[in-house]
Amino acid sequence: MGYVFLGYGVAFGALGAYSLRVILRGRKLSRTLPPEERTWQ
């Protein structure tokens, strides 16, 4: 089961880290926009 846990860990760890990076970058950049220009909200 060691290899199985390693595979799941790598997959979900990498996806979690990438998701966090995208979300944080989006938060940082959207602060530069006035609220009325955040058209998706």
Partner: protein, 254 residues
């Protein structure tokens, strides 16, 4: 509220989180080990779905690139979507290679072999890393978008070759586990695998929407940053011109 989320992304994110948790629980706890592979079969609840979503991501890049190249539908939005989907695809493709390698070490005894499927997947990943590098090259936004659209379409041509590699060549990699009419697995294993496709599909959609909005924000920042830098340079040049002209006029009058 800051960020790139809205109601749709929150629903997608929640759906992805719940289905992913279910896949992990079903995959690691409730599904039975395989008679041949033992516990290693649990890899199929992650690996094929991630690989398929990488293909989908590169397919979306190709489609958005094509729509950018057609004059009637040309819009920078298609370029942003192509870039966003390619980046998510590279992450998914790298994960596919990593977990495939871990499974290969346990099942075949080697981390890597120059098998057709593995080599083509690595090539696909490398090509799209190159595509992402191309997106950061200089020139006008339009010229860069055209370059990237052509590259995106060309590079995506590897996807069908990679997919059919196990049928066209004798490979170590196993063929399709899920055939349309005669799946090789049944019961809890089949449903868990199907759920994994739904889970990673939702995750892909959630990630692409966020990344697309980040891409648009970055483009805007780059555009405004350039406009600000040009205005500052013009102001600086005007000041320098004024300063240079002032002593000459003083000297002339003397």
């Amino acid at each position: 509220m800051t960020g790139t989320g809205n109601r749709t992304t929150r629903l997608l994110g929640l759906g992805a989180l719940v289905t992913t948790a279910a896949v992990v629980y079903l995959g690691l706890v409730t599904t039975p080990p395989d008679v041949v592979q033992g516990d290693l079969v649990r890899n199929i609840y992650v690996h094929p779905a991630v690989a398929t979503m990488a293909y989908v991501a590169f397919g979306v890049t190709a489609l958005a690139s094509l729509l950018y190249l057609i004059p009637r539908t040309r819009s920078m939005r298609w370029d942003s979507l192509a870039g966003a989907s390619a980046e998510v695809g590279v992450v998914l493709c790298a994960i596919t290679l990593a977990i495939g390698s871990i499974w290969g070490r346990a099942a075949w005894g080697v981390w890597w072999t120059w098998d057709a499927r593995l080599t083509l997947t690595a090539l696909l990943c490398a090509l799209f890393v190159g595509y992402l590098a191309l997106r950061r090259t200089g020139g006008t936004a339009e010229a860069r978008a055209i370059r990237c659209a052509i590259a995106g379409i060309l590079f995506s041509g590897v996807v069908p070759i990679d997919h059919y590699a196990t049928e066209w060549w004798r490979t170590l990699h196993q063929g399709d586990t899920l055939e349309t009419l005669h799946p090789l697995i049944h019961g809890a294993q089949l449903w868990t695998m199907l759920l994994s496709f739904l889970s990673f599909g939702l995750l892909y959609a959630w990630l692409v929407i966020h990344r697309y909005r980040v891409e648009q924000l970055e483009n805007r920042l780059e555009h405004e940053g350039l406009a600000y830098a040009l205005a500052a340079r013009r102001a600086e040049a005007a000041t320098e011109g004024h300063d240079a002209a002032a002593p000459a006029s003083v000297g002339g009058s003397a």
